[in-house]
């Protein structure tokens, strides 16, 4: 791969002046259980190479291929494309001293199929021993990959990453009621017993709480408690869209002109931390060769800064925040890595206390269909519960939540002390707010 990259860069630099080559190889191996039994096994080997140039008129050309026989064609093709390409608002960066951050561990890929099969079996048996008519699916995967970035300004950097993931879903059907709960995690080291136990015990709690179906209240001004997974699905997409450099550059972010203003409850602090070691999103630099750094999106309710790649930084007269990420077939675009939200003052197990009547949001169906750019959210509760007098009393169905993130996160009642991992790339607390509207067909509207 390194040879291909360097040859391609030489040819492209000669032809066009400024050029950058991004190459990636990866291998992913998976073992899947379906309907409580092992069903699929396999692997995906992939490799590809992408060329980006800035031509003599300052315009961008980009093309990529996974076909080794076509690498030479990229030089001419990017030249043709650059005649129509966007005006480059940046130059390729020079080499930097990159911070050191641990990103890989061979244990993630050394774990054997037999070990994964045994893990899957024991996780499924733990569910079946309490819910014998459940249907479980489970997927383990392990992957490793290398990325190599090289440009005509002097960057020549490579890094490796590993990951191991476990995902589990459980279905229970009673009459025409179908219950589906799921959870999972991604780590950079091998999955272990304690990862599994955390997921299985969380799933069992959700199944137990779902045994009774109850009516949901409708209206506003009802306390709504978001689990870390529920918070992630409901609030982060509309909130982060305001910080996305693309939306800032086009003028559609509602945060434009409001940086440094307090827009959320003062207990809210949210950061993006690519330098946190051994997360699936850890990286010393972004995919454009800019050193990684921690970004503070919200500090005590005050909005901080957007996340930018080179182009959106140029468009907004700022410098890249090291947030340019890409796949082989796409040009870089701004994206986040490992999102953390600071904990509050309420002990995690006291978040339910003093809720006389409220809703617990765990899993969403159809989030992201609303007007996210404006901060709106709305979704059907695929898994939500009614809380009465501090206790979960049953599952609510046919219930939707909606609201605006800038309102809901200003009507915070409590934030839990300890943030919890979500999908391996988030660390988020439990959050209780009143700024959410509930609509349910199980209650009079």
């Amino acid at each position: 791969m390194t040879n291909h990259s360097e040859q391609l860069l030489d040819l492209a630099t000669t032809a066009h002046g400024n050029a950058e080559v991004f190459a990636e190889t990866s291998e992913r191996h998976h073992v899947e259980f379906e309907a409580n039994r092992p069903k699929n096994i396999g692997q995906r080997q992939s490799s590809g190479i992408a060329l980006r140039i800035i031509n003599k008129n300052g315009r961008i050309g980009f093309s990529s291929t996974s076909d080794n026989d076509k690498i030479d064609e990229l030089v001419d093709r990017t030249g043709v494309l650059s005649e129509y390409g966007a005006e480059a608002k940046f130059q390729f960066p020079i080499a930097s001293d990159y911070p050191s951050v641990a990103t890989s561990d061979s244990s993630a890929v050394d774990i054997t199929d037999d070990e994964l099969l045994a893990f899957g079996r024991s996780a499924i048996d733990a569910i079946l021993s309490e819910f014998p008519d459940a249907l479980c699916s489970a997927e383990f995967s392990k992957s490793s990959g290398q990325q190599h970035l090289i440009n005509s300004a002097g960057v020549n950097a490579a890094h490796n990453h590993t990951s191991c993931s476990f995902y589990m879903g459980v279905e229970l059907i009673r009459g025409t009621d179908m219950l589906s709960v799921w959870d999972g995690t991604v780590t950079t080291v091998a999955i272990n017993e304690s990862n599994l136990e955390r997921i299985v015990s969380g799933l069992l709690t959700k199944l137990r709480n779902s045994q009774k179906i109850v009516e949901a209240p409708s209206g506003k001004d009802i306390p709504v408690l978001f689990s870390p997974v529920g918070f992630n699905g409901t609030f982060l997409p509309p909130l982060l869209s305001g910080f996305n450099g693309k939306n800032v550059a086009t003028g559609s972010s509602p945060l434009i002109g409001r940086w440094g203003e307090k827009m959320l409850d003062q207990r809210i602090s949210i950061s993006d931390d690519p330098l946190r070691p051994m997360t699936p999103a850890s990286r010393p630099m972004d995919d454009e060769g800019i050193p990684s750094r921690r970004l503070n999106f919200v500090s005590n309710g005050v909005v901080g800064e957007p996340f930018l790649d080179l182009q959106t930084a140029g468009e907004t007269d700022k410098t890249s925040t090291g947030s340019g990420m890409r796949s082989i077939n796409t040009t870089p675009s701004p994206s986040t890595s490992f999102i953390t939200m600071a904990g509050g003052e309420t002990p995690n197990d006291a978040m339910f206390n003093d809720i006389k009547q409220g809703i617990l949001v765990e899993q969403l169906l159809g989030a992201g269909q609303g007007n996210e750019l404006g901060g709106d959210f709305r979704a059907n509760l695929s898994l939500g519960f009614l809380i009465e007098n501090g206790e979960v009393v049953g599952r609510v169905k046919d219930t939707m939540i909606s609201g605006n993130v800038y309102e809901a996160l200003n009507e915070i009642e409590a934030i839990s002390e300890k943030p919890e991992p979500v999908w391996g790339t988030r660390l988020l607390p439990w959050v209780r707010t009143r700024g959410v509207e509930i609509a349910s067909s199980s209650s009079p509207s």
Binding site: N40, L81, E87, T176, N371, N380
Partner: protein
């Protein structure tokens, strides 16, 4: 791209119960406008392959970019399937490979071409996108715009150990245009998605549609949000197509059912889901749509499968495995988004057949309802589904009145279909959608439906 001898040689080395090989070449052009200027234009080309092998009911799969040494890929996938079949402590003992019979055949399928996007110059494509962007920005009050144009050709050579060899090529064109208006921190957007099989023409002559979308976006800033709750809604053909896809289509996919005894009991043939005006169909054999093809990714010929007739469940969608295990006939619905994935059961083109009512009949007697048009998205989890409109208008006393903010609709298969009380006779089609399942998205699909009316539909506040 003849890979026939290479693939067939590799298959002779196979000793699994069943083995298949796919080799794929693809070329894509994509251009994106964001705000006032072109954001990105690129061409990507791909080549890769996949082997799938089944031993005693367990599947091994391998995908790769390096096409050298197909024989050892076949051997690897087979070995893995065999090792899985021997099971964890022998738990899979007694399992066998069951695949519905499909007559072996050899065929070379030329792509459907109406106006070939590969023959249109980059200059012409960017000029047209630029023109549409100007139309958006000529509307006062626009804060931003997004235009995505893409075309893609995919050639697949497929062979399996039953003796089938098929080469097939499809060309897709897609376009999404949206306009955003902003007032303070209130951002509203309006737009549309379209697509076609082998026809660049779908991207042409859109001036009126673009200008209307820009007007709608600005108008939405003044539109009122609706309070959440239950209402009578009338869905236009585009959104009703999304409705049948989400509310019914996904539960028709037999991979949900074939190993799930409880779900089989609920989704039994002959079950009544609603009135006699409900007639649903899915099929890739419907010619010329984005979900159309001659053979699926297991080499099974496409069909048109009645799902509901006169309100009663009469069919479902299958791969060869789900067909064999439910004792039903294969329907040609096993699809893979690319060589990186194994084929799974998917919809193709999904339809609500015409009823007898007119649009005016649907409006009649609706005192306080909502007319919802155009789509923004949708999702399903078993019997629960949600989908979003791109436009919404109040209906009062049987008349369509002012625009309100777009809404999200939610429902439950077993109740909502009962509440569809009228189906019009004005079927229209939508090909702008892409479906996601099992990490494979966006898969090209089409929908078609007339206007339909749903009583007591749950809509969200906005």
């Amino acid at each position: 791209m003849s890979y026939q001898s290479q693939i067939e040689d590799a298959l002779t080395a196979n000793n699994a119960d069943y083995c298949e090989i796919r080799i794929e070449e693809s070329d894509s052009t994509r251009l994106t406008y964001r705000g006032k200027s072109l954001d990105d234009i690129n061409i990507t080309s791909g080549k890769g392959g996949a082997v799938r092998a089944c031993v005693n009911g367990s599947w091994g799969f391998a995908s790769f970019n390096d096409l050298e040494d197909l024989n050892s890929r076949v051997k690897d996938a087979t070995e893995q399937a065999r090792s899985l079949a021997s099971g964890y402590k022998g738990e899979l003992e007694g399992e066998s490979t069951m695949l519905a019979e499909v007559e072996p055949h050899t065929d070379i399928v030329e792509p459907v071409i109406v106006k070939d996007p590969r023959r249109i110059s980059l200059q012409e494509k960017t000029k047209l996108a630029d023109h549409y962007n100007h139309i958006v920005w000529s509307q006062p009050g626009i804060a931003s715009s997004d235009i995505i144009y893409g075309d893609n050709s995919r050639k697949v050579a497929f062979a399996n150990s039953d003796g089938t060899y098929v080469e097939q090529e499809v060309i897709h064109v897609i376009c999404r245009i949206s306009a955003q208006a902003r007032e303070g921190s209130d951002v509203q957007q309006a737009g549309f998605s379209i697509g076609a099989l082998g026809d660049y023409g779908v991207f042409e002559d859109l001036d009126d549609q673009v200008s209307q979308a820009a007007k709608r976006a600005v108008g939405l800033l003044k539109a009122k949000p609706l309070k959440g709750g239950q209402r009578t809604v009338i869905l236009d053909p585009v959104l009703a197509g999304v409705f049948v896809h989400e509310a019914f289509g996904h539960l028709s996919e037999a991979d949900n059912v074939y190993e799930n005894e409880k779900l089989k009991e609920l989704m039994y043939m002959g079950r009544k889901f609603g009135g006699e005006h409900l007639n649903f169909t899915d099929g890739a054999a419907q010619p010329g749509m984005r979900g159309s093809y001659k053979y699926d990714d297991e080499g099974t010929p496409a069909a048109l499968t009645p799902l509901v007739r006169d309100g009663v469940l009469v069919g479902r969608l299958h791969s060869r495995e789900t067909a064999a295990k439910t004792g039903e006939a294969p329907t040609g619905n096993a699809r893979a988004i690319s060589y990186r994935f194994p084929p799974i059961v998917r919809m193709t083109n999904t339809f609500i057949e015409n009823g007898e009512a007119t649009f005016d009949d649907l409006l009649e007697g609706v005192e306080d309802g909502v007319y919802v048009k155009n789509w923004y998205g949708g999702m399903t989890q078993h019997e629960m589904f949600t989908f979003s409109s791109g436009e919404a208008y109040m209906i009062r006393n049987g008349e369509v009145q002012e625009a309100v903010r777009p809404v999200m609709l939610s429902g439950n298969l077993f109740e909502t279909l009962e509440n569809v009380d009228a189906v019009a006779n004005d079927r229209g089609f939508n090909q702008g959608g892409g479906c996601g399942k099992g990490g494979q998205m966006p898969l090209p699909v089409g929908t078609g439906s007339p206007h339909i009316r749903i009583r007591n539909c749950l809509i969200s506040g906005a």
